[in-house]
């Protein structure tokens, strides 16, 4: 479970990232964090990844306050998180298979487990047939699916996606959301920051709406612009 208690992040120059955010996300939930650019969506995700520390408040993940984690322990926290970016962030000189395997290599998983886990992850995102392709040989949607496979190959309990469809056309966006939904069905908590109204409206999941760093709406299910 993820719990944010009175979390405020103020950047240098007195710029507010998020302001007194209180949230509770249960295990296995699918949550959209929506809002315009600069509303604090990315700040919220970066706080969850422990890339940033809040100015005030606490963030509890699986019973541990991650704001108090020492730097050396952040790696262990992230091994339980899969992170997906808008720009995919694949390694251009490695194949699809190698990009996914890379996530396991850096956390020193055995080659035997890598040979077992990578095909399974590629199968889940529907990319088994492209495992030998280089990133520049596949479409944007396929690149993002590779990034998702890399995020889930270690079976994390939480997947965080920052604008995963930001660079994709509607058809590819839909496919990406289907993959994320499939991952969520396996019991993984999925948190997606987006300003793509269509996919939020289409999926009817929990929506947390941020405006200038403040949570203005937290609906159990609903569309992008629904009122409580």
């Amino acid at each position: 479970m993820i719990e944010l208690n009175h979390v405020t992040k103020i950047y240098e120059g007195n710029v507010t990232g998020v302001d007194d955010v209180n949230l509770r996300i249960n295990d296995g939930e699918f949550v959209f964090i929506v809002g315009e650019s600069g509303s604090g969506k990315s700040t919220l995700l970066r706080l969850l990844m422990r890339e940033l520390k809040p100015t005030e408040g606490s963030i509890i993940i699986d019973g541990k306050d991650i704001t108090k984690l020492r730097r050396g322990k952040v790696a262990a926290l992230r091994r339980n998180m899969g992170i997906v970016f808008q720009d995919y962030r694949l390694l251009p000189k490695r194949t699809v298979y190698e990009n996914v395997a890379f996530a396991l290599e850096v956390i020193e998983v055995s080659q035997r487990k890598i040979r077992r886990s990578v095909p399974a992850a590629l199968n889940l995102v529907g990319l088994s047939h492209k495992s030998k392709s280089m990133p520049n040989e596949i479409s944007g949607g396929e690149q993002q699916r590779t990034a998702i496979a890399r995020a889930i190959v270690n079976n994390p309990s939480i997947v965080i996606a920052d604008e995963p469809t930001g660079n994709l056309d509607p058809r590819n966006s839909e496919e990406i959301m289907e993959v994320l939904e499939a991952i969520n069905r396996r019991g993984t908590t999925v948190i997606v920051a987006t300003h793509d109204k269509d996919i939020v409206n289409e999926m009817q999941k929990r929506v947390i709406h941020l405006v200038r760093g403040v949570v203005v709406r937290d609906s159990e299910t609903g569309g992008y612009d629904d009122e409580d």
């Binding site: 962030r89 956390i107 020193e108 890399r150 270690n154």
Partner: protein, 305 residues
């Protein structure tokens, strides 16, 4: 960290040196240049120090005694000289020995042939010249030893070369300080260069580093290949200067001996073995430390993800 991972990180570090070909070459070249200058300064400083030490040993203090002292008094002074840490060695010269030395120095082989000399043997003209020849541990300590000797009532006169010792001491100090400052400056330059090279390497791999951090790689895992790269560049940079000193030093000493024979008569150059014995570990440690430090500085900012 697993051995397999360490091996893979080391392999990555090696690959990176070759991947950044020209940049690595430039760094290796500049580190070599710095170490060559370092080597020259080192050879100079060590030889000057050895030269001044040699001279120190020859700068004796002669303490003349009041007439004939009893054996007990001589033993008492000897004991006190032994106890003084600033004294490297001393030698008691009795008036008879002083006369004997004088004779052999001044008259050579004919010393025992002359009647006059025979007469003088019975009435030693140097009977008041019994003395202690004392050698300080270094030129800097000479004045302290002189002051110490002055405290004995049995010593009537002290003869020493105050200026020579002072000049030598300050020259040795000057060479050490100037050489030390130059070496420190060169180390700083080397560090700057290696930091810049690794920074380029880190920059080209920044995407990879950020992905590694997001997927839970530890700082040491990310750092190790760059550490290997830095150390390797430093190490490669040390090869040429080592070879140059190894092959060039003896040639230079020989040249000095041929061209400037007066210098080689004045003092002995340190042997190649003595120079390499001191320089090799310094080159090795310096190249490794500078390489490792350069990498650590370059990657630090990128680990804060």
């Amino acid at each position: 960290m697993k051995i397999r991972t360490v091996n893979s990180c080391i392999r990555d570090g090696f690959k990176s040196v070759f991947r950044n070909g020209l940049m690595s070459l430039a760094s290796v070249g500049t580190i070599s240049a710095v170490l060559i200058i370092f080597g020259i300064v080192y050879c100079l400083v060590m030889n000057v120090r050895s030269f001044t030490n040699d001279l120190d040993k020859n700068l004796g203090i002669v303490a003349f005694l009041n007439g004939q002292l009893s054996q007990e008094e001589i033993d008492d002074i000897s004991k006190k000289l032994d106890e003084n840490q600033d004294i490297a060695s001393w030698n008691y010269v009795s008036s008879d020995e002083a006369w004997k030395d004088f004779k052999s120095e001044m008259l050579g082989d004919s010393a025992n042939d002359s009647d006059l000399v025979e007469q003088l043997d019975n009435d030693n003209p140097l009977k008041n010249s019994a003395n202690f020849e004392v050698y300080a541990v270094s030129a800097e300590k000479q004045q302290q030893v002189v002051d110490f000797l002055k405290s004995f009532s049995q010593i009537r006169k002290i003869s020493y070369s105050a200026n020579a010792s002072r000049t030598l001491a300050s020259f040795a100090k000057l060479v050490t300080y100037v050489g030390g400052a130059l070496i420190l400056f060169l180390i700083f330059v080397a560090l700057l260069l290696i930091t810049n090279t690794i920074r380029v390497s880190v920059y080209t791999r920044r995407n990879e580093i950020s992905i590694m951090k997001y997927i839970g790689a530890t700082d040491s895992f990310v750092r190790l290949p760059f550490l290997v790269e830095g150390i390797l560049i430093g190490f490669l940079g040390a090869i040429l200067p080592t070879a140059l000193v190894f092959f060039g030093y003896n040639a230079l000493v020989k040249l000095m001996a041929e061209r400037f024979s007066s210098i080689s008569q004045l003092f002995t150059f340190l042997s190649l073995g003595e120079i390499m014995h001191g320089l090799l570990p310094i080159f090795l440690i310096l190249s490794i430390v500078v390489g490792a430090l350069g990498s650590t500085i370059s990657i630090r900012r990128h680990l804060k993800v």
